[in-house]
Amino acid sequence: MFDALHTPDNVLIVGGSSEIGLEIAKQLARRGSSKFLLAGRSLEEMQGAARQISQVSEQAAASVSVIHYDVLAEGATESLLAAAKAELETIDMAVIAVGALGNQATDEKDPAAAERIIAVNFSKLAPAVLAIANQMAAQGFGHLVVLSSVAGVRVRRSNFIYGSAKAGMDGFATALADAMIPSGVKVTVVRPGFVATKMTTHLPPAPLSTTASRVAADTLRAADRGKVTVWVPPLMAVVATVYRHLPRVIARRIPF
């Protein structure tokens, strides 16, 4: 349930070792969210994250549990939803922070690797998001936060496997927001630019790069206000709009 300031009680973080997911969880714990379920592939990393989340508030330590979840595994989402029901009772907020960047240069030559990136970022993830949304619709409330990316706004030569999958997920999630209006479920789609996290340590920072804690703060502020899309940093909205309308001959020559 949410309080008047839109702080959820029970929070599901899918992609439980994501740094942005962890930052969102910590900021929610600071505001008073009391129960978290982290779902992801690395139990070890999630246990570290769980410790950090439960230590955020001294007065009332949040209870955090972890569950193994691989979006590519058969039946994974069904068991996730069952676990969420058991651990959280209601999923008040779900943060979808699942993603894999892949390696464009080698994945281009290996269609099976490309398929995996597209599955993790879109073709397997979208049905999982739908299942969570439907469970929220059945309980009559809920807020889905889906991490998209500026990479999906205009798919670029340098990153088109990841970018096209993110484009698909972005379109899916923003339209899901419209579809969910009668059910009482809200959807917020976050489009960060380059975020300095472990997913990007091997890359040179791009212009307008931001941090996980900034993304988390802006995301929660947008969610509080019931916004469907949020750009981080906000200037990215302008940059992305310009970029989307650049003539192809220019766009394909931009190095990042």
Binding site: M1, D3, A4, L5, T7, D9, R31, G32, S34, A60, T90, A138, Q139, G140, F141, P182, S183, G184, R221, R225
Partner: protein
């Protein structure tokens, strides 16, 4: 949040209306928090049908959905007034009992339920008449019980006779908190109704500067020529309306400071014997339909607490923090409470109650209210559940130590736990 809305249309109310995952009654939906909501569950409403009410020997029997607005319109012209009215007349009889509402006369006459003789309660175990003497446990669990013991379908309560539809009012301007508290302690008992508006933005020496209005129903002899000709003429209708397209941010520190300055300056130092209409005295905000829209799309929350007598210093500290946080609250009222009643979750207890409207928006609001919660608790005070929309379960449990008794009584009439609200889920009540 989506719930399935069901109107109880009189005959016959059946326990089958209670369904999973939860069912809760709603009166006029004016509680500021989540008391009459249940996301994914069922909300039960009742018609505002005053024609089915009867008045016998000064005791009114009315349906649970009947509003004080309708009761006043029907009975003031016949010389009867409700025993307790809050700052709005848009509350239902059922809601008045469930929230155990108080009004400007609490210091002398207690809460609404103090005047209730019995009510009919629909529960999953069936419908039964619950009287103050016959079933005191269920009666006092329901008084202030936020609807968690069932749906109040009808209630009988004592009305008060009045000679006119007018109030005789004394207005006093006080320069600071000390003056205000001394005046209220010294002479509130001489007035049936009393409440003070406080400027929460004033700091330093003028912290707590306020306008205190006190009064009683005007007697025939108090009225001048024209009014005396038709002393029971009562008409209450919104005179203005706030449009739905108002943007957020209209109420900020600057605009509220201006409003507060004006409000304070326009009040007389002392004016006695002024004749006011009932709506002007009791329900000024009801004059503007949709007044809440001035808070814009993000809305506002209410924060109301009571501190026992002797905790004046804690009240002063809390006011100081509100003033220095510059929370733009243009509706802040202070009132003295009289004796508490046996209601397990009834809010009022002897002392001071402060109620604030606060626009949602400032990121500092979370922290401020959490800090205030702790100080209220340390000073043996508590928050008003009908206003609350954000407190934590453990805070409320510490403020209302008799929650466990409520749970035991509720379990008898609702063994399967079908009566629930978003408030009860948020606060882990049952």
């Amino acid at each position: 949040m989506v719930a399935n809305l069901v109107e109880l249309n009189g005959t016959p109310a059946s326990p089958e209306i209670f369904v999973r995952p939860g069912t809760i009654a709603r009166g006029l939906g004016r509680a500021y928090g989540d008391a009459a909501q249940i996301g994914g569950g069922r909300v039960v409403t009742q018609p505002d049908d005053v024609s089915s009410s009867t008045l016998q020997g000064g005791v009114l029997s009315a349906g649970g959905g009947v509003s004080l607005d309708s009761i006043l319109s029907s009975y003031v012209p016949r010389g009867w007034f409700v025993p307790v009215t809050p700052g709005t007349r848009y509350v239902s009889v059922g809601g008045a009992i469930a929230a155990d509402i108080h009004g400007k006369n609490h210091h002398l006459e207690g809460t609404f339920t103090n005047h209730v003789e019995s009510f009919d309660l629909l529960t999953p175990a069936g419908e039964k008449r619950v009287s103050r003497d016959g079933d005191p446990d269920l009666f006092w669990a329901t008084a202030g019980g936020m609807g968690l013991t069932g749906v109040i379908t009808r209630a009988s309560f004592k009305m008060i006779p009045v000679e006119s539809a007018y109030m005789k009012v004394e207005t006093r301007r006080l320069e600071n908190l000390d003056e205000l508290m001394a005046t209220m302690v010294g002479s509130d008992h001489k007035f049936r109704y009393s409440v003070a508006w406080i400027d929460c933005l004033a700091r330093g020496r003028s912290m707590g500067r306020s306008v205190l209005t006190r009064g009683d129903h005007a007697r025939l002899a108090d009225l001048g020529g024209t009014l005396a000709g038709d002393p029971l003429h009562y008409q209450a209708r919104p005179v203005a309306s706030a449009p739905p397209w108002l943007p957020g941010g209209l109420l900020n520190t600057t605009s509220v400071r201006l409003f507060n300055e004006m409000w304070f300056r326009k009040a007389p130092r002392l004016r006695e014997g002024e004749i006011q209409k009932i709506p002007t005295f009791f329900h000024p905000l009801d004059g503007v339909a949709g007044w809440n829209r001035i808070y814009g799309p993000r809305g506002f929350l209410q924060y109301q607490f009571v501190l026992p007598d002797g905790e004046e210093e804690a009240l002063r500290r809390i006011l100081e923090q509100i003033a220095s946080a510059q929370v733009p609250s243009f509706l802040a009222v202070l009132k003295r409470f009289g004796d508490a009643n046996p209601g397990l979750l009834s809010f009022p207890r002897p002392g001071w109650t402060l109620a604030l409207d606060i626009p949602v928006g400032s990121p500092r609001l979370f922290g401020l209210l959490e800090r205030l919660d702790r100080q209220v608790l340390e000073a043996s005070g508590r928050l008003y559940l009908a206003k609350d929309s954000r407190a934590k379960a453990e805070t409320i449990a510490a403020m209302y130590p008799r929650l466990g008794e409520l749970a035991a009584i509720k379990a008898k009439v609702d063994p399967e736990g079908l009566i629930k609200s978003d408030l009860s889920r948020r606060l882990g009540i049952l």
